[in-house]
Subunit: 443 residues, 4 copies
């Protein structure tokens, strides 16, 4: 996470202020839960909240420096926080954290932070979906050439392309919801998860108040398969960003010029070449996708903690927690903005579609020949031959269009009507099911 690629909303989730507030909330709730089962006095639970809440509400840089100083001595972050908190709470602080282990606080806090992050990411995806839907509807019937292997294949519409990306991000939304559920769990189960020192109802109370579910069986920690599944999902979403970014980069390349990122007044594309207008947003998104994905392998490596827990996951999560969520949040919002403002050139789309002399209709022509009674193998040979003849001499004086070449073939001339050939080469043919597909995607 670096400021250049961070939005304040998401970065704030990972601030010490937010973390300590969540820690306090967990401790305060746990105290209330303990009071409910008579483990500590109700009075104490009330004092903890009443004295602690304003302290945390007003937590500032000095407080954080103080906690850091205590940690340098104790070499334990939760103990440092509790010591600082005790100063505010007074004698009743002895009822704080009773029977709990640090992981109860740390892991439940991480769950809260990750659900907060997931909620922002869900909103981001909604922004991407909205942009994609608007542009898809706008270009529902904008003809463009479909490409496989980077080679012109058959016509499609720009709206259909965007509908495909919309559907992918709709799937990503579902995946993110599932990933959020994975990590929306609390554990307040004590040293090695046996509840030997506190009643499970405390965990249930805390979880409920925080909008989480209790972890059915924790070791000392919430098992890391949950987090691995979460970060793996972020990696899948990032890859979807990369796919759409790659599409835009392709559309903007000089020879294609079918779409272009919005170029701001005052923007400079290159220090050396003033003519440059580069797809820097989509290129940037390609790189950011790699960064988000980089969290997947360490998250998977974190799963196999030793016995009831080791702490190797901690340093990993201190970095990939912010890095992956902040970067993905930034990337999704950048993507949404980029797609909203994308400048689309339907004329260039049509020009490109028509630039290969009509060979892009070879598939439909093949069907027409087959229907006219030519054996498929023969039809393939004829169509391939005419297409290659067209292609090879494209733009040369002796070049002929695909239709001309076909009509010069004796078998075609004999068995296929010119009108049938004409019909097979009408790009509008490829629009016939666009409505139906849009209903599938957008309902």
């Amino acid at each position: 996470m670096i400021p250049r690629y961070a939005r304040p909303e998401m970065a704030a989730i990972w601030s010490p202020e937010n973390r300590y507030r969540i820690w306090f909330e967990i401790e305060a709730l746990a105290a209330e839960g303990m009071a409910r089962v008579g483990a500590i006095p109700e009075e104490a639970a009330r004092t903890i909240r009443e004295k602690g809440a304003p302290k945390l509400a007003a937590i500032n840089a000095d407080d954080i420096a103080r906690i850091d100083a205590i940690e340098r001595e104790t070499r334990h972050d939760v103990i440092a926080f509790l010591t600082w908190l005790a100063e505010a709470i007074g004698p009743d602080s002895r009822f704080v954290h009773q029977g709990m282990t640090s992981s109860d606080v740390l892991d439940t806090c991480l769950s809260v932070q990750l659900t907060q992050a997931a909620d922002l990411l869900l909103a981001d995806i909604d922004a991407v979906l909205a942009a994609l839907k608007a542009r898809a509807l706008e270009h529902k019937y904008t003809l463009t050439i479909g490409r496989s292997h980077g080679i012109h294949a058959e016509p499609t519409t720009f709206g259909l392309k965007l509908a495909g990306h919309y559907a992918e991000f709709a799937r990503n939304r579902e995946r993110l919801l599932a990933a959020r559920a994975e990590i929306a769990v609390a554990a307040i189960s004590g040293a090695v998860g046996t509840f030997a020192h506190l009643h499970p109802s405390v965990e249930e109370y805390v979880a409920d108040k925080l909008g989480l579910r209790p972890e059915p069986v924790s070791t000392q920690v919430i098992p890391r398969d949950r987090h691995a599944a979460f970060f793996a999902t972020l990696g899948v979403i990032a890859s979807g960003i990369e796919r759409l970014a790659t599409e835009v980069r392709h559309l903007q390349r000089s020879e294609v010029r079918e779409a272009e990122e919005f170029f701001h007044p005052g923007q400079k594309g290159s220090s050396a070449m003033p003519h440059k207008r580069n797809p820097v947003l989509s290129e940037n998104l390609t790189g950011l996708a790699r960064i988000v994905r980089a969290a997947v392998v360490p998250a998977l490596e974190d799963v196999a903690l030793w016995h009831e827990r080791d702490i190797s996951h901690s340093s990993v999560e201190r970095m990939i927690g912010p890095d992956a969520t902040v970067t993905l949040d930034f990337a999704l919002m950048r993507l949404a903005g980029m797609m909203e403002k994308l400048v689309v050139y339907p004329d260039r789309m049509l020009a490109n579609l028509e630039s290969l002399g009509g060979v892009v209709h070879s598939g439909e022509v093949l069907l027409a020949l087959t229907k006219a009674g030519i054996l498929r193998e023969d039809a393939y040979r004829i169509v391939q031959g005419c297409a290659m003849a067209t292609w090879t001499r494209l733009g040369t004086p002796e070049g002929k269009s695909f239709k001309e070449n076909l009509q010069a073939d004796p078998d075609v001339a004999r068995m296929v009507q010119p009108a049938e050939l004409e019909a097979a080469m009408d790009p509008k043919l490829h629009l016939c099911m666009v409505d139906r597909i849009f209903v599938r995607v957008f309902g």
Copy 2:
């Protein structure tokens, strides 16, 4: 996928025979679907199935060699298959594959293979769950020391440890079901997914008959975010295997000896050291987990195909498809067998639990001191001091037990009753919620 780590059931899914049978089924169903909308004669669809089905039922090595030979010429695998198939079907073969593109066959086939694989993997996980449940119930109250950081923490039970792994594999089962749904889709949508040459009802018919759902909007291919999500899930499951395997490796190490893989009569642990009995299964599982996880990154890299598709994903999937599923299947079944036969040593568990002079009860003692009115900070210092004194002189002549050291402390002597101290050091204390946790996990 290598024979050493492959079970025949899973390997068969990736055989050419199975692939060609699925390809034929897709083509035959597509022909039926087309006949239903009048795109081709019903008679033709019937002929295709009647002549093709026995051919495929009896497909043998010669047939496969013949298809390979055609592919060497055409450099196109689906065309090679269709050419071979045409020989069996005769003139009506011209109605086969009409308006379809190779990806319709290839991608729908991959979906079928991956769902077949997922079904085997689900059964494997069930076997793991069954083994874990049986052993968890068997050792529900078998006391053992819980360890965090590899250091004795507090008592737990071996059944609780296994219940944790059971819960993780139950989550893995849910994830695999979701992953199966991700890739259980068919696409029969033609060149760039526009249905220009065939009606969407064909796709719906084929999907339905194959137990799949239609892909709402395909490009030329089924979008690869689905496959990425699938392989990422396999990576999460593999990491769960690694966690349990790591636990067994730890339990078997010479200084721990709390459990041991079954050692077969006739088995040799080392060529040089006849005394060796090594946890080779769990070590092997650790390595296999790395292999399954190795599929995750390439699967993520496959998502960003160019435009309506490029074929870079194909070579990747030809390898990770079999590798990840076959290896994971093998690993899960090896894990199930290993856990079923695991030799458990409750006596050693108890001996280890007691080997540190009682310091593992420091947490409960701390609570007892706090309850007796000693300030938490003071209590912590006393308990830590007594524990360290015990630990440091462990096994030496001047060594004293934790209890003895505590009782020698004037504050403890003054404020805590011997019976209270005794009670705080009873391992059974840690069994109090085992029933409740088991209900959470096993219902």
Copy 3:
């Protein structure tokens, strides 16, 4: 490793036959080495070689099945081999493997296999280098547009592009040599590497005869950082393949058409679209690069073996050893062939270079204006304005060339001579240092 992407030469390295021959060679050499220090009778060493060598020379499928059968009982591969070998050697077999541990054989064998593989890969890279050099020299002065961000930047030559890839593969060759040296080590040091049961001179003798160096200090195994460095290097090379393959894919895309993979007579690009000629080789190489790279992470995860060794690396290496080397070998040879036969279209290169109305000369024009005394900031604004005006109206009736737009600017008209402008827009200007760069690269 799958046959589709395997060359027999490389696959043979990983065959059981080759492995067992290397195992025997290690055992026979070790026996000779022991005889030299008097640890076993010279006679025995001679018998071992004389009886074993012909057996191994003629090793066949039956032998391998026999060894497999013994392994099923002993569950130990090296003991199985030794038992089989003992049948051939007779009583002197008791001098085989004396004081050695299985890892001595397995790890030294892996070193031999990896150096054999490295030698093939070095030859492969030489083939790539030869193809790149030949084509680079052929197109040394073939003008083409250089592109950054996918956008036309300034002219360069196709030869220069290829020279860049040549230089990268020359670096890859150096890296592979270093990686080969990493794993060209032998260890014959016994159970935990202490030489307690055999003299270090045995290791030195075996290493020397096999063209390896002795591992200075082994644990039980050759440390896996060596192998990690080896596979990481393969990953870097694979990424270089991906870069060149991506270039070819771009050059072949329909709007660019500057180069094309050789299309075989009889080849079919698409079952549905007979006009297709797809860059399937370079797309395939892109996927194969992902597969080779997939070995890097597991190889890194193999480094941290427990204590003097655990066997988790073994299953990983059984798979990534063949997979990464066979796939990379296949990919490099495919790349060499593809580049040799690449069809290049200089006319299209020139046409593309000129297709943007001359804006690609904006950099040199900027310098010309600056030299003519216009402030850099002002010059940038003028040149950017004229370039954008050209670009935006490209191909429209009101479109003007970059030169025309520049000449219409009053400052330019006043301060820059037409001849200077003309000179700044001569593509040949970009050829001035081509010779010098070629000397840097090719000597």
Copy 4:
């Protein structure tokens, strides 16, 4: 990179101040180089340095904010810097950056930063090597049990263990030197690397002054295979850290207790369990290794830039550049300190060695039996049987030592002298080659 895991020395390399100073140095040197070939006036080059140098020496937060503000308008970082710099330099600023492209500055700067980072890392490794060497010499003859598969194998010495890690870090040092050389290159070659606008001698001059070599052929950028090789090397080094950290974690676990991280006075191991002394440093190092390794895959993915360059690598490097180097620097220094202060318990080592009733001598006993004339297969069976009998009844009343069990075997009794058996079970036997290995490692 987060402050928690960052040392100021390394973090400073990635500060804006250091970056801008390097940028200026590159521009100033390039101007001097241009003046030398007469491309710009010598006077101008002098002015640039004289006016710019003090400005950069005193660069402060206000300056950085000003540059940021310009960048927000131009959306181009290098142009923003040059604009700010021009304010200081005045009219001669038009000679700055002439004929150069931003990448010339950015990539050469990155090379400088990475070499600075590499130099710190080399010093870190030297610290690790020094600590390992000192402790290895200290414990050269400290007997300890060697373990394979986590199971006692044969005796070795703790010094030998450390010597193995020393040798690995010595290899890592060599690798890092090679990796440093990979990225110690400068490119000042203009828009697409053709030197069309500036003479190669400028690049040579700048490179020489910065202690770099000129990139023989750049595109627009320094090719990213160099950076991939660099980060891959960091990944290998990180894995070596993980191996040593894993060893310490194992040695400290409660059942082993052979070594322990230094535990500071005032340190608290657990909030709930005062008795805990956890190997938190080595666990932390395990996690940090995962983070450093996470840079490898994105760095490999950066290699295949499009054509002469795309900018997808930039965002990746802005994050992994600092993250990987800062984290690795921190980890290496933490490792060095941890090993320096590691508390070693030779008594526990000996006690563990002897804890299995002598079965760890089974290898030498096997040799003794074979030498005494018992067939290897028979000897193996006898030794295995006696070892298993010992092992199984370890610590039980009917338990016997390995020697007792062996002596009870009739064949052993008949054919092996008690003194021979005794000799075979002397741990000192395993010290015989320690000197020789130390000479190999430390010279």
